[in-house]
Symmetry: C2
Subunit: 301 residues, 2 copies
């Protein structure tokens, strides 16, 4: 008996099977097209295995409030064919197992807290900087969730003095995502990030924006570890620049070594590399099974 996991992204789905300890046994990659097509391949993959539970970490926004009639759906999304897609219902009906459901970034935070850079900690923040910017968090050992899931990519930042680019966010123009996600970098500088690797002014500005966002996350959430993933963060020269800006902005206000001399151990790359999301998705399945067992006990008790 295995766990199944789905990391649902805008360009591809990663599906995987793990054992009890989260070790990945088999995996497949499926292009994200329309639900009928993509989900058909997802079903084909999983039906090869006997599964105890399936976890989904997906692009959003999604409805994660279990009391809502649209729980388990993708809600608003520019990826039109997926709008209002009942993700949890589709998987439950097909496989008749408990289904865990959360954002891709919350899943990645869970994966990193369980088996990655934040292993052993009851608190961490995972941020992806790529086509968009999103973040998930573990707080007191649980996934962060309230009215909705966080939308941390849309924090307000101060503009860099040399930045005349208006910003790309369709809702807020120059929020963090509007100024610092991959498409904004390309629109501002006229080339994509890979071609700009040697231009120091690009990464100075990028670090300035990301560091401001991290300061907001730190004073609001006080995570025990911050993990920066996503395509843009493959530019490793960003890390020391971000470390310096965060230290300067905080100015020793919170006197913890993690926020000063040990900051390079505090703001880090994913311990699981590109597997943070799928690992967390598999864990979401395991949590769904445990929750069902606990509810069963309560009902019997």
């Amino acid at each position: 008996m295995y766990y199944g996991g789905i990391e649902a992204g805008g360009t591809k789905f990663v599906c995987a099977i793990s054992d009890e300890n989260g070790k990945i046994i088999d995996r497949v990659q499926i292009p994200t097209t329309i639900p009928e097509e993509t989900m058909g391949q997802v079903f084909d993959f999983f039906q090869q295995f006997e599964l105890k539970a399936i976890g989904i970490g997906t692009f959003g926004p999604i409805e994660i409030n279990k009391k809502s009639p649209s729980y388990g759906n993708i809600t608003e999304t520019p990826k039109t064919p997926w709008k209002n897609y009942p993700f949890v219902k589709a998987i439950e009906e097909r496989f008749q197992v408990p289904v865990g459901f959360n954002t891709d970034v919350n899943a990645a935070a869970l994966g990193e807290a369980a088996l990655g850079a934040a292993k052993g900690l009851d608190s961490c923040l995972y941020i992806t900087v790529g086509t968009g910017i999103g973040a998930g968090a573990v707080v007191n050992g649980q996934l962060l969730q309230g009215l909705s899931h966080p939308e941390m990519g849309h924090v307000i930042v101060r503009r860099h003095a040399d930045d005349t680019y208006e910003g790309k966010c369709p809702y807020h123009k120059d929020c963090l995502e509007g100024l610092a996600a991959g498409p904004a970098i390309e629109a501002r500088w006229g080339e994509n990030g890979l071609a700009l690797a040697e231009r120091t002014e690009v990464w100075e500005m990028q670090a300035y924006y990301i560091a401001q966002a991290l300061v907001q996350y730190i004073v609001i959430l006080s995570p025990k570890k911050i993990i920066l993933g996503g395509g843009v963060m493959k530019q490793k020269q960003l890390f020391p620049l971000i470390h310096n800006y965060v230290k300067t902005l905080l100015n020793d206000y919170v006197p913890y070594p993690e926020l000063s001399e040990k900051i390079d151990e505090y703001i880090v790359s994913p311990g699981l590399g590109d597997n943070a999301g799928i690992t967390g998705s598999l864990l979401l399945g395991k949590l769904a099974l445990e929750e069902k067992a606990a509810n069963g006990l309560t009902a019997r008790g």
Copy 2:
């Protein structure tokens, strides 16, 4: 048998006694001077009662990490006589009961979630805007805590176009607290808030800053209710201005009625009025007792 609570503020301590349900039976106010003097009066008050537990909600910064050797202490503070004061140890040694310990704003958030404006919700944010700006939060039914307690008053905001005041925060100059706490209002406009009640430009600017901070809190924490307390928020004309700015800034990005047409039920005054902090402090005592009982069971099990 009763619960004791201490709301420790920079100018006064409120001490109270409650029954099992959080109903306040007796209370006293003690000026904050030096620990020997203030705590002497605190001891005198509590020794009149038979107590099961005592909760402390205090000004900070404080050490709330139970694994730290300085757990239970006030740490850095401009109130020099209280620097490194071992608050929990002093109360434990004197009364030999379980002691709960957290920030005044986390206590207020707990009080409002249990018995106030966020009653019945497992998530809320409490912000005080007064001599300083601080906030506490309940997330998934638990007090928000990570590396340290939050320091949300120090979020970064964009400057208002008409604001030439440099900011008063000794660490960050023009963070939220530096631009929008009571002393900043007085320094910018030359009079204290009460005397400025009729000047609309004062409250427009104030709402602009507070609304930006709320947007940061919303996209990062997604609280189910936001409660604004403290002296500055007695200027009730601020509420509609803040509601409008928050709506404008979010621009329907998170499509919840709480963040658009129902925003006046979402961002509200404390349900417990000035009693949020002391009510939460009493509950911290109750939680400390329950935690001790649970640990005892585990140890026996």
